[in-house]
Symmetry: C2
Subunit: 265 residues, 2 copies
DNA sequence: CAGTGGTCTAGACCACTGG
DNA sequence: CAGTGGTCTAGACCACTGC
């Protein structure tokens, strides 16, 4: 690690260096947070690919001239924020959406009977278009910039397959240059796995806004419900590193036999 | 802390003591988890009241014959699980719903414009009744046991006050002996604060199941929406210590101008 | 100023994984 | 067996709170 003294605020002798009204001086930043930031920047730079192992704790500690406990605390926080995954006896690995056993890490829809039913996908549309005002604002783009729009259905696995989710997805065109319906249809596994592997875009966290709405006529047809039937509208904005929004998703969930589950702490 | 050796599984010499087909031997439990369990049992026993400070880390460490770091790790987990709150320079305090600045720790409904609008309450009903099959099952009671049923509205603060939430709440009668409409109406502050202060019932975590439904005729009147209008149905089961269910809540949310917000990690 | 939580170290040892 | 993450210690020092 760089010089300890330089990485900390100058010793506050005498007055606590806080001017009323002035913007707050940068808060004290402990060593392990600086190491955390360093690891985060390396992750962001793509120094390790998703699923790969990073250096061991002792190696990092030696390299950064810091005790193992300090490295550990940095990694602890990164693991807690889903950037890394620890596996005792094996190492610490870069988190990935590709090998989730749940298949859908961000999908909170669950069958009422608790079973973890597999869902099949049906791609409806994948095209490039210009961002409308709302999509542009959410993704931090200029109105009219290129975006990729995807529409797809998720259906129950058992026959006859019942539609459950209608997703409408917007991605920044600049980040997903070669993304076509064919590529999408050919991909096995979670969509976020494709984004990671082919476009280097890693979803780190997301915010959802949930509402109840009445099904519009065309959506009702696709979801096989009556027009006006109540549906869950789930608007998700997914972020990559540095709080950068990289996906806007508008999902309509049919919640008969399914529910959105949430855990409050 | 009790004898170290006794609190750990016997040294596994030779064969790893795992019989195929037999239930798994209790997993290795580190010292800090035992301390965590001990603190948790003290909390459960009501040794400290909500909002009170527990012993300091050094004091606990000395008392339990353990290093500060070990106590710290136990407290870390308890803080993360919302049982305790740390305040640097002051101490570690028992978490409480009474002094939340958000007022509603578990309520995820937010105005679309981000503001933290205050909501007013209107009590509709509070009566004792016998639990139906569904309520009894959720609360772990026998069908027909006494429960308290509460119905209430939450309305926007600004005039004219618009109804937003219609809550229907069931509580185990045995735990809430003196709870009446008067007591409820007289209480200032969050309902969970009343439960803590008067009945010693502390909500630790909750699970929610969310669906979209069409408003029934009577609910529609109370929420000032058209019959059949789409509403969010939020079923919440709240747990106290030891995964003990202590509240079932069925909330109908009007999501025009409001949304249920969620954060995915 | 004393007392609290928060950071950091150096080193020992344990539990788990895989070759 | 060596290498990994996980636990634990004893002690030093720092940042923050309140008297």
């Amino acid at each position: 690690m760089s010089t300890r003294a330089a990485s900390r605020p100058a010793a506050r002798v005498g007055t606590p260096a806080r001017h009323a009204g002035a913007p707050e001086a940068p808060a004290f930043s402990p060593l392990y947070r600086q190491i955390k930031a360093l690891l985060l920047s390396r992750l962001q730079a793509g120094e390790w690919k998703p699923g790969e192992a990073i250096q061991s704790e002792v190696e990092l500690a030696a390299r950064l001239k810091v005790s193992q406990g300090t490295v550990r605390k940095a990694i602890d926080e990164l693991a807690q924020e889903n950037h890394l995954v620890r596996r005792q006896g094996k190492g610490t690995f870069v988190a990935t959406h590709a090998e989730e056993r749940t298949q859908y890490r961000f999908l909170r829809l669950t069958p009422d009977d608790g079973g973890g039913a597999r869902l099949q996908r049906r791609l409806l549309e994948c095209r490039r278009m210009r961002a409308g005002a709302e999509v542009a604002r959410a993704l931090g783009l200029q109105s009219g910039e290129a975006v990729v729009q995807i529409r797809r259905l998720l259906l129950t696995g058992s026959e006859p397959a019942q539609p459950v989710v209608l997703d409408e997805i917007w991605l920044p065109g600049a980040l997903f240059k070669g993304l076509t319906a064919d590529r999408l249809a050919a991909w096995r596994g979670p969509m976020y796995g494709l984004f990671e592997a082919e476009y280097g875009v890693r979803m780190v966290r997301a915010e959802e806004r949930i509402r109840a709405i009445a099904a519009a006529a065309d959506d009702a047809v696709l979801l096989a419900v009556a027009p006006g039937a109540p549906l869950l509208l789930v608007e998700r904005l997914s972020f990559s590193y540095g709080q950068r929004p990289v996906e806007l998703r508008r999902g309509l969930y049919r919640t008969t036999g399914f529910h959105y589950r949430n855990e409050l702490g």
